[in-house]
Amino acid sequence: MSMNRVVSSLVALALAGVSASAAFAQGPAVLPIADVKARQAVEREISRAAAKGLPTQPLISKAMEGVTKQASGERIHSAVASQARRLEQARDLLAPSPTVAELVAGADALVVGVPASMLKQIRAAWPRQSVAMPLDVLTELVARGVPAKHALKQITTLMVAGATPTQIAGVGASVQSDVASGLAPDAALEVRARGVMSLLPSPAAQALLAPSSRGPRAPR
């Protein structure tokens, strides 16, 4: 074989490698669902989601959750389809370009009953930063029994005042343990949010903490 042919073969191999690598990365792995019809339906669902530009990993994870929980094939298919719908809804609500983590967090929020409009409000509070953590905390607070409206208000206030995702997560975790030890969810959130707010140097945070923030000061 001449050098020229070797080089031509190398180029062809490289191009084939690129295509195969890309195809392998995007194609769904074979899911361990015993019911063949259900498995094919799930795989079609995942392919449809991929065609819409949705991430497939959360759907594979949802299907695997069903396998581990020994759900029927039909139920797994239904759960994957629901998750795909939630991801699509979250993508629209968290526009313009949400990350996969944000989409999953948005879908989880919708599952626990957070109204769709609240996802938009969270995005509006942080248009350029990841809202995955605030959404996770909102989900957790609502799941623990804090009214969604109250939870949203406290979280967006923290976001606008300059709290970091870690500080917001800390509020969520503290409320979680406060509720476990018997404190009312509303009260726990209020006190923990105020605690973080006191650490923030922004004028907005200080204004919220000041006694005057309860009402307009009378002119002298």
Partner: protein
């Protein structure tokens, strides 16, 4: 100068022929100006395109071969980079590189001071009490609910434990006993399950 020209791997066969003809002419004296004019004329001649030289094996020079090899290498590199970009990263599936759970605290994740605390994996310890179980493993959204992928180790006290690095955020999980029985963590808040109706547990992970 001449020696370096002789060793130049990029030398053109046409220029070589011109040189040989000039050398073999009887009584020919090296005339630098004439040589310059000839070489200029040769270089001014239209040359085949890069694609033509790439696809025509008879005209393929050493330079073209090197170029083709470089293109192939670059294509492979770009392909694998792209693959990494579209497949879940280690942050998305943090257990991939950790191996079996040992119960040891993987401090290498915690000591990554330069990383963004909002995204860096946080070592998270799970504890489960069941002296009768022969095997306990951890399943959750962080390991795609794959039973057996994250085993817990049994301590002398009868407690089972595993420490795994998790991305910050809210995670739902459960324990699998002896390969089949799925149970929620009795020490953690419960997580409802609208899709399958099997309650799990929830953990909020963040850098403390």
């Amino acid at each position: 100068m001449s020696e370096s020209f002789e060793q130049d791997p990029l030398r053109d066969p046409l220029i070589e022929r011109v040189r040989e003809t000039l050398r073999s002419s009887p009584g020919a004296k090296p005339d630098a100006a004439a040589m310059g004019r000839v070489l200029q004329a040769v270089w001014a001649e239209p040359r085949a395109s890069f694609w033509r030289r790439l696809t025509d094996p008879l005209r393929m020079t050493t330079f073209t071969r090197l170029g083709a090899a470089a293109v192939a290498g670059a294509a492979l590199f770009v392909g694998f980079l792209w693959r990494n970009a579209v497949t879940p990263s280690t942050a998305a599936s943090p257990l991939a590189a950790t191996g079996p759970a040992t119960g040891e605290y993987p401090v290498q994740y915690a000591s990554d001071a330069a990383a963004d605390p909002a995204t860096v994996a946080v070592p998270t310890q799970f504890v489960f009490e069941n002296a009768k179980a022969k095997q306990v493993s951890l399943v959750g959204d962080f390991n795609d609910w794959k039973a057996g992928e994250t085993p817990l180790v049994k301590l002398e006290s009868g407690l089972w434990t595993a420490t795994v690095p998790l991305p910050p955020g809210r995670h739902v999980y459960a324990f699998v006993l002896d390969g089949t029985l799925l149970v929620a963590d009795p020490r953690a808040p419960k997580a409802g399950d609208a899709d399958y109706g099997r309650e799990g547990s929830v953990v909020m992970v963040f850098a403390r």
